[in-house]
C-alpha cells in the first residue's frame, strides 16, 4: 500500500544525502533545478491533501445532482402516491405489488434476454472490429469513421430510421429481400422477431462506441510482444488469443460494464422503433418505469420501486463482472 510513497521519499532522501544541499527556500512552481529543495515538507501536507482536492469538484456535483436525488427517489419508493397528490408511507408495499405484477415479470424477463444478447454480441463484435481496425488495412481511416457514425446520431432518430427501414410495406429492407425472392417478415409486428430487431438496433447504435474504446486500449499494447511472438512462429489467431485478448482485458472490462448498463437502460431508440410493442414484447424495464411514473395513471412511488430494483440488478451484475474479471486477471 505504502510502497510507492515511501519509495519516493527514500529516493528523495537518498539523493539529498548524496550531495544536494538542503536549503529551506521554498519556491513553488518554478520547477527545474532551482526550486527543488522544499520538497520534503510539501510531501507531508500537499500529497495527503492533493487527492481530496482532485476529487472534490467531481464529487460535489455527484452528491448534489445524482446521489441526493437518488436517495430521494429511494425514499419515495416506500410511499404510495397512486392518487397523484399525496405521499403515504406504505413500507414495502410497492415492492410487494411489483412481485405480484405479471407484466413486471414479463418485462424483467425480456430485459434480461435483451441485455445478455446485447452484451455478448456487442463485446465480441467490438473486439473483432477493433482488432481488424488496429492493423493496417486498406482505407482503415474510412472504416473507423464509418463504424463510429451511428454513435453520433440521436438515438431517437436511429429508432425512427430503422422503423422506416424495416416497415413491412414501405421499408427498404423488405423491398430488397422481396426483390431477390427471400421471405419478407413483419420485423416489427411479429412478437418473435421484434426483440431481435431491438437487439440489432442496439448493436447498430453502440458497437462503434465500444470499438473506439477498445482501439484506444489496443494502442497501449506493446508492439514488441507481437514481434517476439511472431519470431517464435505464432500465427495471427494465436497472436489474437494469447496476446491481444489477455492484454486488452482491462479495457474489455470497461466495455462489458458499459454494455451491461446500456443494455439494462435501453430506452430511447426502442421508443421510436417499436414503442414497446408488438403486444409488449419489446417493453423493457426503463420504459416500464417511465410509463408508471409519467403516463396516467401516475404512480411515482411504484415506479421508483421498480427503479430501485433495476438499479439493484445492474449493480449486482456489474459487481459480478468485476469479481470475475479480477479473478481471471489474477490467474
Amino acid at each position: 500500500m505504502t510502497t510507492a510513497t515511501t519509495g519516493g521519499g527514500d529516493r528523495a532522501a537518498a539523493r539529498a544525502a548524496v550531495g544536494e544541499p538542503t536549503r529551506d527556500s521554498h519556491r513553488p512552481g518554478t520547477g527545474g533545478g532551482a526550486g527543488r529543495p522544499g520538497r520534503t515538507r510539501r510531501v507531508g501536507t500537499g500529497r495527503k491533501l492533493a487527492p481530496y482536492l482532485f476529487i472534490a469538484p467531481n464529487m460535489l456535483i455527484f452528491a448534489v445532482f445524482i446521489i441526493w436525488p437518488a436517495i430521494n427517489g429511494f425514499n419515495i419508493s416506500f410511499y404510495d402516491s397512486s392518487n397523484g397528490r399525496t405521499f403515504e408511507w406504505v413500507g414495502g408495499g410497492n415492492y410487494a405489488r411489483l412481485t405480484q405484477d405479471a407484466e413486471f415479470w414479463q418485462v424483467l424477463g425480456q430485459t434480461v434476454v435483451f441485455t445478455v444478447a446485447f452484451v455478448l454480441l456487442a463485446t465480441w463484435g467490438a473486439i473483432l472490429l477493433a482488432s481488424m481496425l488496429d492493423v493496417q488495412v486498406k482505407a482503415r481511416g474510412f472504416f473507423r469513421a464509418v463504424f463510429f457514425v451511428p454513435v453520433l446520431l440521436s438515438p431517437v432518430v436511429v429508432g425512427l430510421l430503422w422503423n422506416w427501414m424495416l416497415d413491412r410495406q414501405i421499408g427498404v429492407v423488405n423491398a430488397l429481400l422481396g426483390g431477390i425472392g427471400l421471405p419478407t417478415p413483419g420485423w416489427l409486428v411479429d412478437p418473435h422477431l421484434a426483440l431481435g430487431v431491438v437487439v440489432f438496433t442496439g448493436l447498430w447504435t453502440h458497437v462503434g462506441f465500444y470499438t473506439m474504446i477498445l482501439l484506444a486500449g489496443l494502442q497501449g499494447i506493446d508492439g514488441s510482444l507481437y514481434e517476439a511472438a511472431k519470431l517464435d512462429g505464432a500465427g495471427s489467431l494465436q497472436l489474437f488469443r494469447r496476446i491481444t485478448l489477455p492484454l486488452l482485458r482491462p479495457t474489455t472490462l470497461v466495455v462489458i460494464v458499459l454494455a451491461t448498463v446500456n443494455g439494462f437502460q435501453a430506452y430511447d431508440y426502442i421508443y421510436t422503433l417499436t414503442g414497446g410493442g408488438p403486444l409488449g414484447s419489446t417493453t423493457l424495464l426503463v420504459q416500464y418505469i417511465y410509463d408508471n411514473a409519467f403516463r396516467t395513471p401516475i404512480d411515482y412511488g411504484f415506479a421508483s420501486a421498480a427503479g430501485v430494483l433495476l438499479f439493484g440488478v445492474v449493480f449486482v451484475v456489474t459487481l459480478v463482472n468485476f469479481v470475475v474479471g479480477r479473478r481471471r486477471e489474477a490467474v
Binding site: 445524482i66 481488424m132 492493423v135 430511447d268
Partner: protein, 302 residues
Amino acid sequence: MSTLQGDQTVGGAVPAHEPRASSTWTGIGAERGGRASDGRRGRGLSTLDVVRGALLTIGAAVVLIPLVWMLLSSFKTAGELAARPPQWLPSSLSLPTYLANSVIVTVAATVLTLAINSMAAYAFAKYNFRGRDTLFVVTLATVMIPLQVILIPLYQVVASLGMANSLWGLIIPGAATPTGVFLLRQYMLTIPDELIEAARIDGASEWRIFWQVVLPLARPALAVLAIFSVIWRWNDFLWPLIIAQDESTYTLPLAIAQFSSELVVPFNLVLALSVLSVLPVIVMFLFLQRHIVTGIAQTGMK
C-alpha cells in the same frame, strides 16, 4: 489492495516496470513498422486479409446504407411538401438561438466534464487515500442510475438552486459523468508510476504533475471522452425537455422535437434537421480522431 484496483502493480513495480517503460517507446515505433507490413508482405493478400476486408465492407454497408437512405429521403419528399404553401420553418422556430444554445451547452459542459473527471480519475488511479475505494464504488454505482428514476427529485434540486429554465441547468448537473471517471481512471492506471515519482523528485507540485505529466499522457482517453461528452450533450433530449421550458433555452433536439410534434409531421424536414444537426459532431469527430490514432507515441514520453 482494493479489489477494484486494476493491474497496477505495487510491490515489485519498480524493477518490473523499468525495462517495459523504455521498450514501450521504441516498441511503438517497431509496432507501427512491423504490423503495418503485416498486411502486404510481398506475397500479396492472405486469406485473413480477404476475410477481414469482406467483413469490414459488409459492416460498413450495414451502417452506411440506412444513413444514405435517410439523407436521400430528407430531400425526396420535398416536392410533395412544396405542393402545399411552402412553410419551411414555422415562424416561432428561431434556429440560430437553438443552435447557439446547443453549442454553448455542449462546449461548456464538455470542458467542465473533462476538467473535473480527469482530476478525479487521477486521484483514483494514482493516490492512496482514505475512502478511495468506497468513493470509487459509489462513483461507479451511479452509472447504473437511470435518469428516468431520479428525474423528479433531480428537477426539484435544480429548481431550488435557481437553475431551472437556464443553460446552467443543462450544463452543470450532468458534468460529473461516472463513465468519464471510469474510462480515464482505467487509462491512467497504465501510466507508469515512475514518471510521476520522477517528476516528484524533480520537485514538481502535485498539480503540475497532473497538468504536465499525466494529462498529456492521457490524451487518447481524453479525446475519447471529449467526443462522447459532445455527443451526449448534443443529442441529449430528455433532460433538456424537462429543464428548458422557455423557448429561449431550447436546444436543437428540442427544436426538432417541436417540428415533429406538429399536426402534420413533416418527416423529411425532421430528417433534414437531423442530418444537419449531426454534421458538426461528425466534423468534430474527424478532427479528434487523429488524436486517438496518434495516441501515446507522440505525447509525454518525449
